[in-house]
């Protein structure tokens, strides 16, 4: 439970750009069809990699990660779960865009 909160806390700190991207891809998937989802997945992976790379460039000492380290979460765990959360959000938003609107 605590770890889940930590993952969500971290995702919250980087969420703005991935969520904007998700909304964009959700609309594109509606317009271009479900086959576009593969392109959306790879583009979102690329966006997250760019965010992490920018964080690494600006903060090579990983200062913002020690809060998570001290709560027993490693960098690999943090990045992997964040990516999975991001993909889940992509699917949820795509589902909402396709079926609700």
């Amino acid at each position: 439970m605590k770890k889940t909160q930590l993952f969500l806390k971290y995702y919250q700190s980087i969420a703005a750009i991935p969520i904007i991207a998700t909304l964009f891809f959700g609309i594109q998937i509606k317009n271009l069809g479900v086959s576009f989802i593969i392109i959306a997945l790879f583009t979102k992976l690329f966006i997250l990699l760019v965010i992490w790379f920018m964080q690494w460039l600006n903060n090579r000492k990983k200062e913002h990660l020690y809060f998570y380290f001290n709560n027993g979460v490693s960098q690999i765990e943090l990045y992997t779960v964040t990516y999975l959360i991001d993909i889940c959000i992509l699917f949820i938003i795509t589902f909402i865009v396709l079926w609700v609107f």
Partner: protein, 217 residues
């Protein structure tokens, strides 16, 4: 009871060897002090023990058993880095919840800071952040605690209280501490090591600090 031992470390940055002849032992009930000049590798050594930094070779043992995965994932260790590490948008009260530490005890020891509980870290002064971070790391449930410069930027009156906390916590934890305010380190440590030219040496007499050109006693 916990005994942590680390040796056989080989660590270099940009082909410059930082650590190569290290032995360090820390055990429950003891405070282990590390001294050394700027850039000698004190923080690097603590980061290696914590598991955040991976050297090419190391041997870390807990109660004589080799420990190969990053120690931080075990939740048995807490590390206070030199810099502020709490998320800026987090409130003090929330931080205490994450670290499973009672804020009431903190308010008793630091009554002047009790008004900060609903404030976010970004609004606190450097010293206030440092005191809260040090308190959380010391009091959070763990077996081993690594403190990197816990006395920096803190008023003398608070240093005394933090030293008392370190004494209190050593009953249940093995504590490793380093700081350039060496008199405090010498004062609280049960075992003392000096780092120089990549190796460590246990200090038995304060005159050795002068011999190794670390301080004029």
């Amino acid at each position: 009871m916990g005994i942590l031992e680390i040796d056989s470390i080989e660590m270099s940055f940009n082909n410059k060897s930082i650590l190569n002849g290290i032995y360090l032992k820390a055990e429950t009930g003891n405070i282990t002090g590390i001294l050394g000049s700027n850039g000698c590798g004190k923080s690097t050594l603590l980061r290696i023990i914590f598991g955040e930094l991976q050297p090419s070779i190391k041997s870390l043992r807990i109660n004589s058993k080799r420990f190969s995965k990053p120690f931080l994932t075990s939740n048995d260790i807490k590390y206070l880095p030199q810099f502020h590490f709490m998320p800026k948008s987090m409130t003090v009260q929330k931080a205490f919840q994450y670290f499973k530490v009672a804020i009431d005890s903190f308010n008793i020891i630091f009554p002047e800071l009790s008004i900060l509980k609903n404030q976010k870290f970004k609004t606190l002064s450097g010293g206030e952040k440092r005191i809260i971070e040090t308190y959380l790391i010391l009091k959070s449930p763990s077996k081993f605690v690594l403190l990197d410069e816990p006395f920096s930027h803190i008023a003398p009156v608070y240093i005394k209280r933090i030293k008392d906390l370190i004494y209190e916590e050593k009953q249940w934890k093995a504590i490793v501490v380093t700081d350039h305010m060496y008199k405090h380190i010498v004062g609280i440590s049960d075992n003392l090591y000096i780092l120089k030219d990549g190796w460590s040496k246990e200090i038995k007499s304060l005159n050795e600090l002068e011999f190794y050109k670390y301080a004029n006693i």
